[in-house]
């Protein structure tokens, strides 16, 4: 199964929900009823887009559909365009400079370590000299977990003593990595709830130290977000962004029935692009984010024909 299929299969269930919502709307004929639009809004809420974003999108759909002079109004097209517009407006092209650092941050259990491991394999596959730094010195066996990923991906790996100051481990790892010619430095950090100010302070320190250890080296700071997350993702992204200045998102566990519709809201509010999607537990289960495919899977073409 290709990766796109995997990702699309994952989105299948939401797609079904959206489709049935769309059908109700489309069956209403060319005149767009309030009720139908409300039903459509609800399906967006079901995909975790959040009520305010869903409302804004439906409003846009309504406006653009009104202006639509084609004989039969394709609401699905309007919906797709509205969502895509939100995502594309923030989706800048991505290429990690050489050398470049990616710092993975997020709440507990979002999938940071797994994502770090997959990213290592991906960049190594592109011929980059990758170094993994185990910045999670807190969770039991976090370093062992990353060690295993490093072995699977066949990349260099630096860890400190368990319980050591993560900033010190990161400092050493980056300095020695750069000295040894690594050009892709991936830093895993401990999971932290965004409302714990001491842990957020620790993260700020890691970022500061990383800048000191690798002055002038490009640093990406990605928030790893579980696709199952609901409206709290807004708080997460806001807080992490405020503390360390995020540059992107990785949406994990998108191979289930969770849709991660919240990234649409995040694009709107914080302008954060999604960089990768996690689609499974295998090393190559990571795909670059493509807004077009994402929306296509969310609002499938079949929806139009079914009416």
């Amino acid at each position: 199964m290709g990766l796109f299929d995997k990702f699309k299969n994952g989105l299948f269930k939401t797609a079904q929900q959206l489709t049935s919502g769309l059908e109700t709307v489309l069956k209403g004929g060319p005149a767009i009823s309030r009720q139908a639009l409300e039903a459509l809004e609800e399906t967006l809420v079901r995909a975790d887009m959040g009520a305010p974003t869903a409302r804004a999108i439906i409003h846009e759909v309504e406006e653009s559909a009104k202006k639509d002079t084609t004989h039969k109004v394709h609401l699905a097209n309007h919906l797709r365009k509205a969502i895509l517009g939100k995502l594309e407006s923030v989706q800048t092209p991505f290429a990690l400079p050489k050398p470049g650092i990616i710092l993975l941050v997020g709440v507990n259990g979002a999938g940071k370590t797994t994502t770090t491991g997959k990213l290592a394999a991906r960049f190594a596959g592109e011929g980059r000299k990758v170094l993994l730094a185990a910045g999670d010195t807190f969770r039991a066996a976090a370093e062992e977990q990353l060690t295993e990923w490093a072995q699977r991906a066949k990349v260099e790996f630096i860890r400190g003593a368990h319980g050591a100051a993560p900033s010190a481990v990161v400092f050493d790892a980056l300095q020695s990595g750069l000295a040894h010619g690594a050009d892709c430095l991936l830093v895993d950090t401990a999971g932290r709830l965004h409302n714990r100010s001491n842990l957020m302070e620790e993260l700020r320190k890691i970022v500061r130290v990383a800048e000191k250890a690798a002055p002038g080296v490009h640093q990406e700071k990605w928030l790893v977000l579980d696709a199952n997350t609901g409206q709290n993702a807004m708080n997460q992204a806001r807080e992490f962004n405020k503390e360390v200045g995020l540059t992107g998102l990785v949406l994990t566990k998108i191979d289930g029935t969770a849709k991660g519709g919240i990234v649409v809201a995040l694009a709107g509010e914080l302008g954060l692009p999604v960089r990768f999607l996690g689609v499974g537990e295998q090393m190559d289960d990571l795909v670059p984010f493509d807004p077009g495919l994402f929306v296509e899977a969310l609002v499938p073409v079949e929806a139009e024909h079914s009416s």
Partner: protein
């Protein structure tokens, strides 16, 4: 920023003064606000609909008591209905069940990253504290180092861990653990399984097989408090394959409202049994419907806080002995400081208070931070018992010694003594420990803002140590 339901509803009723009854007309707008509040809390769309219908029926035609506004009546109805739906019909449903013949089994299931391994260890610690003999079974063979993680946690809490050997599969290690539990001095086994997607047939078969073969008495679904709309679908799929007996809500120390767990329990009827807070091994609490209801509605977890304070009060003996305010000495101050730390970190405490994020941040900034409290404790502990009982003994040379002994600056010692003097003065005036405690809070940088008078409900003679908790 999310508004809490109280604010939302008050806003609606601002324009509807003097109405003695809740009518169809004034209820519509309120229900809209309730709907938004529930959706923001990640309560599932369908559950929200059903809930609103119930509320409507209950509220229509309800007389509004003179002392209350229609808004307050609505809030009360919503809150009470939520509590009712969160409370299992069968009172014993939310307790762990024990098998007639040991070992009792607790099977943990859930999606990846919800906190099963941490919960397994916390449960073991909880059971051990309860005088039972738990064992942990590492049956997650998928995630790298999951076994090491459980082994490390087991060691930390002093609970044996059964690990897979020689190519054993998940079911094998569970079966062996059950067979050898008693000879390993374990009468309860907690089976930590791999995280799995509910649509992953192979993995769902694996856990269904464990359930079929070993018939665990307790089967718990571990649910992340941050879960969104997908929660019900996931829980239903697990429930279809495994007869769930309970839910554990994890990461409840975050600021997620946790509405997903409400949807799960109301759709499946599976009761919520435990709530996980913090990454520490004692961060597992019993579930209380009223607190969860307040949380979902964004009204803060005051009750947990009050309970914590009460627990500290029970433990505090010396404070009770202090009958005359003039007896207040540095020993009492030391005890107060130690009680304050027992209630948890300032962060823990503040996170349970109502108020939005910005307010909490401000509180956090003004609260005496843990480091500062620690330094105060160090200063007090560097004094002799006699010095603490008779602070007037503290002349310049003793102060110097104390500052050196505690590794603090001399002016910190002086500040502490000044604070002590102030506390004593206030106590003499007011004669209440309560007031002194408010001053304790004032030791922070800018002083803790008094937020409306003491601990809600009042703590007669209790610790009352927490600075200026908002009254309700």
């Amino acid at each position: 920023m999310f508004e809490n339901l109280t604010d939302r509803i008050q806003k609606v009723f601002k324009n509807l003064r003097g109405q003695g009854k809740i009518t169809e007309a004034n209820i519509e707008e309120t229900l809209k606000e309730v709907r938004l509040a529930l959706l923001e809390a990640d309560v599932n769309v369908e559950t929200t609909k059903l809930f609103l219908e119930k509320i409507k029926v209950k509220a229509l035609g309800k007389e509004v008591a003179l002392s209350l506004s229609p808004g307050q009546v609505m809030i009360k109805i919503v809150h009470e209905e939520l509590i009712q739906l969160l409370t299992p019909k069968d009172k014993t449903a939310n307790k762990l069940k024990f098998a007639p013949a040991p070992p009792t089994l607790i099977l943990l299931a859930g999606l990846q990253g919800t906190g099963k391994t941490t919960t397994a260890a916390k449960l073991a610690a909880w059971l051990k504290k309860d005088g039972r003999k738990p064992g942990l079974v590492a049956a997650d063979l998928v995630r790298p180092a999951a076994i090491e993680q459980l082994a490390t946690l087991g060691k930390e809490i002093g609970v044996p861990v059964f690990r897979p050997e020689n190519g054993e599969k998940a079911l094998d290690v569970c079966t062996r653990a059950v067979k050898t539990a008693l000879q390993n001095d374990c009468n309860i086994l907690i089976l930590d399984t791999a995280g799995r997607l509910q649509i992953d047939e192979e993995m769902m078969n694996e856990i269904a097989e464990i359930q079929k073969k070993l018939k665990p008495t307790n089967i718990m679904l571990v649910v992340d408090a941050m879960t969104g709309q997908n929660a019900v679908q996931v829980a239903q799929a697990f429930h279809a394959r495994l007869p769930l007996t309970g839910l554990v809500l994890t990461k409840a120390d975050g600021d997620a409202r946790g509405g997903a767990i409400f949807s799960i329990t109301s759709v499946t009827g599976v009761p919520i049994q435990f709530v996980g807070v913090s990454e520490k091994m004692d961060g597992l609490e019993a579930f209380y419907p009223d607190r969860m209801a307040s949380r979902i509605l964004g009204m803060g977890d005051m009750l947990t806080l009050i309970e914590k304070a009460e627990e500290v009060a029970r433990q505090s003996e010396m404070t009770k002995k202090l009958s005359k305010p003039s007896d207040f000495n540095l020993d009492h101050m030391l005890e107060q400081i130690q009680q304050l730390t027992k209630m948890g970190s300032m962060e823990d405490i503040i996170s349970m208070l109502p108020g939005d994020h910005a307010q909490k941040k401000q509180m956090m900034a003004q609260a005496p931070d843990a480091k500062r409290i620690k330094r105060m404790e160090a200063i007090l502990l560097s004094m002799t018992k006699k010095e603490r009982q008779f602070p007037q003994l503290l002349d310049g040379s003793r102060r110097r010694r104390i500052s050196q002994g505690s590794g603090t600056r001399p002016d910190e010692v002086n500040t502490l003594l000044k604070q002590y003097d102030m506390m004593k003065k206030v106590m003499k005036k007011g004669g209440m420990m309560q007031k002194a405690s408010n001053l304790m809070g004032g030791m922070g940088k800018g002083g803790f803002p008094p937020m409306g008078g003491g601990m809600p409900g009042g703590f007669p003679g209790g610790p009352g140590n927490f600075p200026g908790l908002p009254g309700r």
